[in-house]
Subunit: 430 residues, 3 copies
Amino acid sequence: MTDKTEVDQLLKQLFPICRSITGDGVRCTLRVLRGLAYFRTYEVPSGTNCFGWTVPDEWNVRDAYIADMNGKRLVDFGENNLHLVSYSEPFEGDLDFSKLLVHLFSLPDQPDAIPYRSSYYQRGWGFCVTSRQWKELANWNATYHVKVDTTLKPGHLTYGEALLGNKGREYLITTYCCHPSMGNDNLSGMVLWALLLKEMQGRNLKNRYRFVIAPETIGSLAYISLHEEEVEQLAGGFVITCVAGPGKIGYKVSWKGDSVIDRVVVRTFRELDLDYKLYRFDVNGSDERQYSSPGLRIPMGTICKDKYYEYPEYHTSLDNLDFISAGSLLQTLDAYLAVIDNLERDEIYIPLHLVGEPKLDTLLGYPVLGGGLLPGKAAMLDAARWVLFYSDGNTSLLDIAERTGLPMSSLVQAAETLVEKRLITQKEKK
Amino acid sequence: MTDKTEVDQLLKQLFPICRSITGDGVRCTLRVLRGLAYFRTYEVPSGTNCFGWTVPDEWNVRDAYIADMNGKRLVDFGENNLHLVSYSEPFEGDLDFSKLLVHLFSLPDQPDAIPYRSSYYQRGWGFCVTSRQWKELANWNATYHVKVDTTLKPGHLTYGEALLGNKGREYLITTYCCHPSMGNDNLSGMVLWALLLKEMQGRNLKNRYRFVIAPETIGSLAYISLHEEEVEQLAGGFVITCVAGPGKIGYKVSWKGDSVIDRVVVRTFRELDLDYKLYRFDVNGSDERQYSSPGLRIPMGTICKDKYYEYPEYHTSLDNLDFISAGSLLQTLDAYLAVIDNLERDEIYIPLHLVGEPKLDTLLGYPVLGGGLLPGKAAMLDAARWVLFYSDGNTSLLDIAERTGLPMSSLVQAAETLVEKRLITQKEKK
Amino acid sequence: MTDKTEVDQLLKQLFPICRSITGDGVRCTLRVLRGLAYFRTYEVPSGTNCFGWTVPDEWNVRDAYIADMNGKRLVDFGENNLHLVSYSEPFEGDLDFSKLLVHLFSLPDQPDAIPYRSSYYQRGWGFCVTSRQWKELANWNATYHVKVDTTLKPGHLTYGEALLGNKGREYLITTYCCHPSMGNDNLSGMVLWALLLKEMQGRNLKNRYRFVIAPETIGSLAYISLHEEEVEQLAGGFVITCVAGPGKIGYKVSWKGDSVIDRVVVRTFRELDLDYKLYRFDVNGSDERQYSSPGLRIPMGTICKDKYYEYPEYHTSLDNLDFISAGSLLQTLDAYLAVIDNLERDEIYIPLHLVGEPKLDTLLGYPVLGGGLLPGKAAMLDAARWVLFYSDGNTSLLDIAERTGLPMSSLVQAAETLVEKRLITQKEKK
């Protein structure tokens, strides 16, 4: 199992990298994550059409700053990569403040926060600054030297993919990798994604899992356009993002609200006795916007801590390594793992003994002196009775867990014993 | 728009007319209402069979009174037409009180109220009096001269009809016109019906609306028997009655309870932030008894203020012009208009862009600087996202409004923009 | 009707008999019950295979005791038949306490209670004693003379059956008859079963009722194996058990939870304004385990007072004639009878008058002076209106009762009048 120290190092290593929807920042990030868990990376050329969107030119940054006329850097990309609006095009020149003004972005309500801004599909350049910096620059008589030393030219969009398992239903586990130096959104998501992949890689799985890491929106669209048939047959999935904040664990339900994904999460959280927050579906979200669109309608949920939009540090420089913690991230990882465990347990069984109750005590080797169970095996016998009673070829272990309140782990154990005794048999999943 | 003065005049003009299920009172009333909005009137001959009922002889009143032997009128139809039981047959003669008694109706609990009584299908005559009048008449030694100068002979039942719109679904908007001088039930309903017709007559409508005004029960039955095929294909409708009382706006749900009619009313009332009263379906009601009968099952709702049965003045002379007000009537009219507006907005759209989210900001010309919307168009973009996300050929704007809480007016505006941009297309209604 | 004295005598007569799943105790019990109501008895030979279970050898007891070496009986089957573990095999011998120990069963938490134990399918012998008796026996130096004078040899399992009615749906009314001297479980159930049979035997029924009395589990399995086709077509039923305790009336719902059986019980209890306890379905129960198994899925409910498992005297000698009462038993009988009455009333009607409301007042001979009903028949007319409105060939009187809150007795009375007037006609049940 992963420990906090390992996670902490990883967070520190990945935090400073300047990521965007294309460019070397993404490549470098994926390389680090591949040190953790195995997945392949792919490159999609600029100009590729994806359902009406176009993979943009590749963007890379050498340097960017606003300096006074003495050459003193007042705003420096080198200090914090949020200072530069993502996808700023190259520029160099001297501007007085009245000209610079329209290129500056700040948050009046949060004086020490640098906002996060991007401009992927509209060419231009800009700097994000704290309110304090903005006030220092705000001198109508001053002239500034601005340099945006970026390249924007045909290249590639990079994504990663790993496929686990070879039977059962297929679930998607996706995250994005396009945000610069911010902790919860989305450094934490990428790290959890890789740790989850690592944990599951060694397992003998009853379902298939499609792990995808790609830039948000355009990356998902590119991925879908290259894997449309595979995506169409997904049974559901998760968008992993914002998983290491200080608040409560939360769950944003899928667009369906009562899909197997949603039901398994809620059941698992109850089994864990988690005090969690439930979020309604909102079309303002992450890549579920693509995967759940009318032509696909894949139910996608998000387990988070804390959810995007819901904390004031969101999309600013305050969402940093101080805001998140390895401990929080591991808590959310545990929740995801518990959910996956229950997804794995959700089987349907067909009865082989149709009429009347089989003589369970004898069959299971739990002899009872009628009228009073010998102690010990009572709970097991109880779970077996429920599984046997409800298993009619249509009722899943999740259904049974919901009706009885018994943990899915007990039900699956009972089911396996019943299968051994040829009382039920597992139904093949479609 | 209609103003209070106009409504007040109309109420005063129509109140005194003696209406019944047939006769000149109805004709006169419809003539006044036709001065307000255009509709045609039709006459159904006495004796016409309507699903087991028979259109009765036509009834008209010249005079009716109870006088003492000096000729002094003690109870006079000329003073209040409620004094005469509707459909009383002609009679003249001297009776002592013991004989008169069985022809008198009063309300012991409401000393100053004249009850409203009719006897359409049982021949006889009667007078309705206040308890005070009853006590004055109650002299076992007295003899009275009674005159009921009415005519009951083959003639016609009169109804009015207007058809608006030429596409979409068809809804029924009906009221009745058979009650004598009472304000809320049913003078107010007739006036609102005519004002609603007037308001809607100039509009370009997305649905068809069948406006019917007819005597209650027998009038509806006659109308249905003459238009059975048209009635069978109605998508729903409203029975307008009791709309100008002093109490809360109320809604009596259709027999289905969750028909589009019911859902649109509830949604509209929430959008208006109305403090309203919801009434369960009750088979003891008005013409929904005919339109929702097992062979038709049209869902019919009633928006009212105050509902029949629910106020003590109901079906007495106290339900008069003091009980109702033009202001109340116009409030209910506004509610009906808002509901019709939302009925008009309830369309289903088919997606033209199936997979992935279209680049909405660009398509709608709302350029955003990624990660933070330019102010202003945010709400519009939000509505567009929801409409686009849910529009899959099965989900109506009403469904989307219920799921998101967004007003239907915003959704329809978003939908129209999306149609323009060829992202969705309107589904034809069946 | 049955009175308390009669019930009391019956309880006293049947209590002492030593019943088990086979043997003369059952035969004797059924003979007494046949004095009350007519049913036939049947015998199934030992060794018969029933869905993997085997009808065991027949067990009868002549005598059984633990005595000291002076011949003084310390534990005596003659005093309480619970002292002997049911199905104990013959044994005679002298044992010191260390050998006797494993054959003794007691309840440390209930010092004065003899537990009820059986060992049908594992051969051996045992004695059940109070904790006080156990302490008296617990002398490591003592030797005891033990005699178990029982016979275990091929014979028969006995059950009883009566079939009532010859049309409509078929319901099962079953109880078991295999417990020795305990009052609520299950003496009370057998007596109520026989009283219910007696009450219903004289009636003209609209449904068929299959009354079965058999040993629990193996008896039901034997019955089902001999009547599989008949059981498969059952519409539902009741397992009668635990019906004469001092607590609240309760209802354990069927595995479906919302079957007609469940809905009729809940409706009836509301009509009776009963303060009752609702129990979730539990696979740990009685013969519903057999009848509701995946291959049969008959919905089986249980009305009880107090439910098994729910009172501390359960399955001990404290569940005796002091714990139960004839009054309680008759209360539960009344509840069952009221439920059966409503089951009998649950018909579906097809409309003969499809469009518009028929002129009900005239047709039913309840002349009204329009606008105010003549007093008296108003409730009847109201019920008739509801039945007529909802009867569309799919909606049952139970549905109508649930929607309107009107008692099923009023609805059925109204329906019968409407049938007479040829406004509706009864739909044949499948």
